[in-house]
Symmetry: C2
Subunit: 148 residues, 2 copies
DNA sequence: TATTGTTATACTCTATAACTATA
DNA sequence: TATAGTTATAGAGTATAACAATA
């Protein structure tokens, strides 16, 4: 692999690993990262319209149509009529969809514990503070458009 | 955005930010993350055959053909004859390709410095140790196939 | 008139399988 | 026979633009 020279390189490395290997782990279930991400948003924020999903995923409404089509086909979400707006639908997790996201949440917690246990106990608090600070700073850089 | 509950969630968040916003920053130059990644591999490891590139990028040789086609078209790489194997080509950065990767390397260093400066000085050493440990552990998890 | 979702079209990344030229 | 790269084909994610139904 490439040398990890800077924190930036390590982050890129992590991003690549996560991207590739979550995709690999989802594939057997007929899922993809884009579809799982959509499930994940609903898992956290509850049922919502496709417009809201498009905003949450930073993707076009047309794209959401395709993702929801596939997830409906797999029986993981349904399109429910919106209570007050007849143009809109509410995308909702089915029981099967809920099982998948709940299992993912448990997995995340378990992997997070595993990863943290790799950090020397004396460094752990500082590491967690540092990670939070870096994530915040990254957010700010992106918001300012100062990303390279 | 979604709540960052665990280290895992923070890592996923970082991966998503990096993925989306590097893509956005590359687009004006007619580049994509896949093509930039290929340039980056050659920048670090020097000219190599498409087979070696396929292995380095964890992608099929067919895929590399398409990426190299696009980069040749943009004038960022050339296909040079292999010195000893007439079946193979050596993919090599042009001067324009080199300018791009060198600029990216400078940007990475600058952003890395910026991100680290967000970590309280007293936490910095522990944070860097922790990050390295987490990256190693992540590698190990992936190698063991224990990724969720 | 503005918004929600969809149809139409196109580009990129990715994969598998079959083929050509060379080793 | 095996390897390097390409042609052929296909699926997924993404985008823009035009259109229907509803607000």
């Amino acid at each position: 692999m490439l040398p990890d020279v800077t924190v930036f390189d390590q982050i890129l490395r992590i991003a690549a690993l996560v991207e590739r290997d979550t995709a690999r782990s989802l594939a057997p279930a007929g899922l993809t990262t884009a579809r799982m991400h959509l499930l994940w948003v609903i898992h956290h924020a509850g049922p919502m319209t496709q417009q809201k999903l498009a905003a949450a995923l930073a993707v076009t409404p047309r794209n959401v149509t395709g993702l929801v089509d596939a997830l409906v086909e797999s029986g993981l979400v349904t399109r429910e009529p919106h209570p007050t707006d007849r143009r809109a639908v509410e995308v909702t997790l089915t029981a099967a969809g809920n099982r998948i996201t709940s299992a993912a949440a448990r997995d995340h917690a378990s992997v997070a514990e595993d990863l943290l246990s790799a950090v020397p106990a004396a460094d752990r608090a500082a590491f967690e503070r540092g990670l939070a600070a870096v994530v915040d700073r990254l957010d700010a850089l992106v918001a300012e458009g100062r990303w390279p």
